[in-house]
């Protein structure tokens, strides 16, 4: 399967490998790991912050375009520095401490949320050989991590000692626990097709045809359900009930100010990226360039485009779709939300899993 070394796709392990060897040359292995972890941590945090800021800008611009407006355009060229200004301001905004709350849990909640989304980054494959850890249950780890976030939201809602946040948190709990199921089943469906939970293997399996084409009907159904469930998982419109502005002021983070609120705000956008990234990974070949079997010239040209650009490009394209949802649809009501999951998505998903198994067993895929 792994014949990529013949092609001209740049393998980032050619850069990371020598660094590792260089460090190992004069440091004991524990120190090497520590230094590498530090480097990765700093790099990740930076990438993380930049990505979130880009997303905030991106969403504001996209939403402005949908609404016949211009969007931010005064701070920096084309308003590019707008979200940086917002970040500086939010960093030094007052953190309000509340009376009659559980201060420890209140302060813990935003960190839980942000850590949950950062952990997911550990296994996202940014490019060929550009992945922090590659282990055999990568996709499982991803699903597990992303569901820690709900704990943070529940804590935030409960510890604020406010009725709005409590309702927001409970809504969020019900919503995320329900939709986690759909996400899990979609992932299982695609894992069946890939035959592995290892993320590199999943990407490699899509070298010739992306899963969305390979798995045809079953993959399409899984993709649509994943997109819906993923939108719900990130608490974005039309599933933004936990922070439904017109109902619950700001939902579970009503009482948070300053950088604590900033964490929730950033995490929302990062989760958007993660959901889009996982969808890219499972359905659109991750960082894998677009290949058409037999068109060698075309494939070579595609291979020249660096793999991180493929990955980020696909993820942003998918998140555009999710943003599109938000600015088009009205919000669901809580009972409709749960009905949608338990009465429609879940049975369809189970059926789809069986369908996928049939497709694989009988070799109906491309």
């Amino acid at each position: 399967m792994n014949n990529l070394s013949d092609t001209n796709i740049f393998d980032f392990s050619k850069i990371t490998g020598p660094i590792h060897d260089f460090l190992m040359g004069f440091l004991p292995s524990w120190a090497t790991v520590t230094v590498e972890c530090l480097l990765i941590g700093v790099g990740l945090l930076l990438a993380y912050a930049l990505l979130a800021l880009f997303y905030i800008y991106f969403e504001r611009k996209v939403c402005a375009a949908f609404q016949c407006r211009l969007g931010p355009n005064r701070v920096g060229p084309w308003g590019l520095l707008q979200s940086f200004a917002d970040m500086f301001k939010i960093l030094i905004k007052e953190l309000i401490s509340l009376n009659h709350t559980d201060k420890f849990l209140f302060a813990l909640a935003p960190y839980l949320v942000i850590i949950a989304s950062m952990l997911c980054f550990a296994v996202l494959p940014w490019g060929y050989g550009l992945q922090i850890i590659n282990f055999n249950i990568g996709i499982f780890f991803l699903v597990a991590c992303s569901s820690i976030g709900v704990l943070g939201i529940l804590l935030a809602g409960w510890s604020s000692n406010n009725k709005y946040t409590l309702i927001g948190a409970l809504r969020s709990g019900a919503q995320m626990v329900s939709y986690e199921l759909s996400i899990g089943l979609c992932v299982v469906t695609m894992v069946c097709l890939a035959g592995s939970m290892n993320i590199t293997d999943i990407v490699m399996a899509q070298e010739n045809t992306w899963f969305i084409l390979k798995g045809h009907v079953a993959a399409w159904i899984a993709f649509i359900i994943y997109l819906i469930a993923g939108t719900a998982e990130t608490n974005r419109g039309p599933f933004d009930l936990p922070e439904a502005e017109s109902e619950l002021t700001a939902g579970y983070h009503t009482e948070y100010s300053g950088i604590h609120f900033g964490f929730f705000y950033l995490a929302e956008y990062l989760n958007l990226f993660i959901v889009a990234g996982v969808a890219t990974l499972l359905f659109f070949g991750g960082w894998m360039p677009f290949h058409i079997t037999g068109w060698d010239g075309f494939n070579t040209v595609m291979n020249y485009i660096p793999t991180p650009i493929w990955f980020i490009g696909k993820a942003i394209a998918l998140s555009f779709v999710i943003i599109w949802f938000k600015w088009t649809f009205p919000r669901l009501r809580i009972d409709q939300l749960l009905t949608l999951e338990w009465k429609y998505l879940l049975p369809i998903n189970l059926f789809n899993l069986a369908l996928m198994v049939c497709i694989i067993t009988f070799g109906w895929h491309f």
Binding site: Q67, G237, P238, S246, T249, T328, F329, P330, L332
Partner: protein
């Protein structure tokens, strides 16, 4: 009218009859006969006065009392009843809240302003002013010095109990009634809340996400317009109308001008009438546009707001060219309108009429057919026709419950009787119906505009009116169709240059009264849907 008089005289031989300036029969009865008369008014098949238009509290200096205005939806007749409370120091009148549900709210208002206690009203609290407010502001002997009621940053006192007054052996006895049980989980929605469309406050008892009871608090924008009017000359009172329901400013102006012109016997030129009607309909379209936008935003579809505001801006441009302002126009005035039309008015209106149908189609495409929107609105907040009448829900919200309550049809004023348009009604009575009625009303308003835009007659736009208007003694009552329902003005003049009593009967006050009734058993999210679909404007209900 003669029939009503005969019938009432037959039932209550002691009643006295007069006629007000708008030819509406006035019946004066004693307090002790009042409740019996009210029952006959409501239940007698020949009278069938099932719509209580307004209750105007009155301070006649020697006595306090109320003026009730009724309308029969069956016979399309009106009558008014004047009731005096016997004792000025300890005034009471029997409540009619058991007959007309809206009376509960109206009587609270009268109590708040005049201190008249309504016997057996289930909720006799202050409405607009805080519990600890001293004095009754609309009484003529009210002392409004800030020393008595100083502004304060302290939180106002709040109780979970309300008062009910009974009459026992000729004495008024006060008992307490519980509003919220101490185990209820009460959420406070508002006054600063994005979905209340202003500063309305709901104390909501919920069970999970299900609403058990809503207690509405008003007065967070109560500006005392009625009291202010009593100290101003007639011309000066007009400008408050723009600031009540700021979307229907043109219509409210029109309504008040009609009252003054009727009282002063001023004939308005045909040109001014056409201009007024056109402005009314333009503001109706602008108002419904904003309704659709904000309503969709409440439901989470933010983008719609920007599409509807696009049309609204176009209308505001037309207004601005003629009136010089975007919102508070102060355009209609006694004797006509302030200024002549801008030269390209007709052309602009035509341009608007051209783009409007395409826009309405677009709104329907984006929102009305959306499966989520349907799920959120259909069957939510159902209001039956009987309830709509009993709660006096007029305007588009009432018409969505199949009550043909368009004052332009029922009691045509200005040139509406000559115009060809349909009254939009729907039978469902849910939020979707209220939404669709407004959509269709925009089409009807456009139809009216299309009929008038090429037929604006020449002539003077403003007839000569004395600088200081003096009205004869008497009473007048005028109803016009605002963007949100029937807007009534009751004027009592004592022959001077200032109104003795100017009662403004806003369409939004009953809307707040019905919220508790139609939200029971629905979800918190439905409260937003229902509140949005009723489309109340808080400054209009608070005045």
């Amino acid at each position: 009218m003669a029939n009503i008089q005969e019938k009432i005289a037959f039932l209550f031989p002691q009643a006295a009859f007069t006629v007000d300036g708008n030819d509406i029969l006035q019946v004066s009865v004693d307090e002790k006969d009042w409740h019996a008369l009210a029952e006959s008014l409501k239940n007698d098949a020949d009278l069938a006065m099932d719509y209580l238009v307004t209750i105007a509290g009155m301070d006649w200096v020697d006595a306090l009392g109320c003026v009730y205005y009724f309308m029969s939806t069956r016979h399309n007749t009106m009558c008014s009843v004047r009731v005096q409370a016997a004792d000025r120091d300890n005034p009471y009148i029997h409540s009619v809240a058991d007959l007309w549900r809206v009376a509960e709210l109206y009587e609270r208002e009268v109590y708040d302003f005049f201190g008249i206690v309504f016997i057996d009203n289930p909720d006799m609290r202050r409405l607009f002013l805080s519990i600890d407010w001293k004095g009754f502001p609309l009484r003529k002997d009210y002392d409004d010095s800030p020393a008595i009621n100083p502004p304060s940053t302290d939180n106002e006192r709040q109780t979970d109990y309300t008062n009910v007054y009974h009459l026992e052996d000729g004495k008024v006895v006060k008992t307490e009634r519980e509003i919220f049980h101490k185990d209820d989980f009460v959420i406070n929605i508002g006054p600063q809340h994005p979905a209340t469309h202003g500063v309305l406050r709901f104390r909501t008892a919920v069970d999970g996400e299900t609403i058990k009871k809503i207690d509405v608090y008003m007065g967070y924008i109560h500006r005392g317009v009625e009291k202010l009017c009593e100290s101003l000359q007639y011309q000066q009172t007009l400008h408050f109308m723009d600031r009540l329901d700021y979307f229907s400013g043109q219509i409210y102006h029109h309504g008040l001008c009609l009252v003054y012109e009727k009282a002063a016997g001023i004939e308005v030129s045909r040109r001014a009438q056409v201009i007024r009607v056109m402005m009314d309909e333009l503001s109706r379209i602008a108002s419904h546009c904003l309704f659709i936008g904000t309503y969709c935003m409440d439901l989470g579809a933010t983008t719609m707001l920007f599409y509807t505001l696009r049309v609204r801006e176009q209308i505001l441009d037309i207004f601005e060219k003629t009136c010089g302002a975007r919102m508070t126009f102060n355009y209609a005035c006694i004797g006509g309108v302030m200024q002549d039309l801008a030269p390209d008015f007709a052309q602009d209106v035509k341009a608007l009429l051209e783009v409007l149908p395409a826009n309405i189609k677009e709104y329907n495409k984006i929102f009305t057919g959306n499966v989520i929107a349907k799920g959120r609105m259909e069957g939510v907040g159902k209001l039956s026709r009987e309830d709509a009448i009993s709660y006096a829900i007029t305007g588009p919200s009432g018409r969505a419950s199949d009550w043909a309550c368009d004052m332009r049809k029922l009691r045509p004023y200005s040139i509406y009787s000559e115009l060809d348009f349909e009254e939009v009604t729907r039978t469902e009575g849910d939020s979707m119906a209220r939404f669709k009625v407004r959509m269709d009303e925009m089409v009807q308003s456009a139809k009216i505009l299309a009929q008038l835009v090429d037929n604006i007659p020449d002539g003077e736009y403003l007839v000569k009116v004395p600088k200081v208007l003096k009205l004869p003694k008497g009473q007048w009552f005028q109803l016009v169709e605002g963007c949100r329902g029937a807007f009534g003005v009751y004027l009592e003049s004592d022959g001077t240059t200032k109104p003795y009593r100017l009662k403004i009967a806003p369409p939004c006050l009953p809307l707040a009264g019905v919220v508790d009734h139609i939200t029971q058993g629905s979800k918190i999210a439905d409260l937003i849907t229902i509140g949005g679909s009723l489309d109340y404007i808080v400054p209009d209900m608070d005045r």
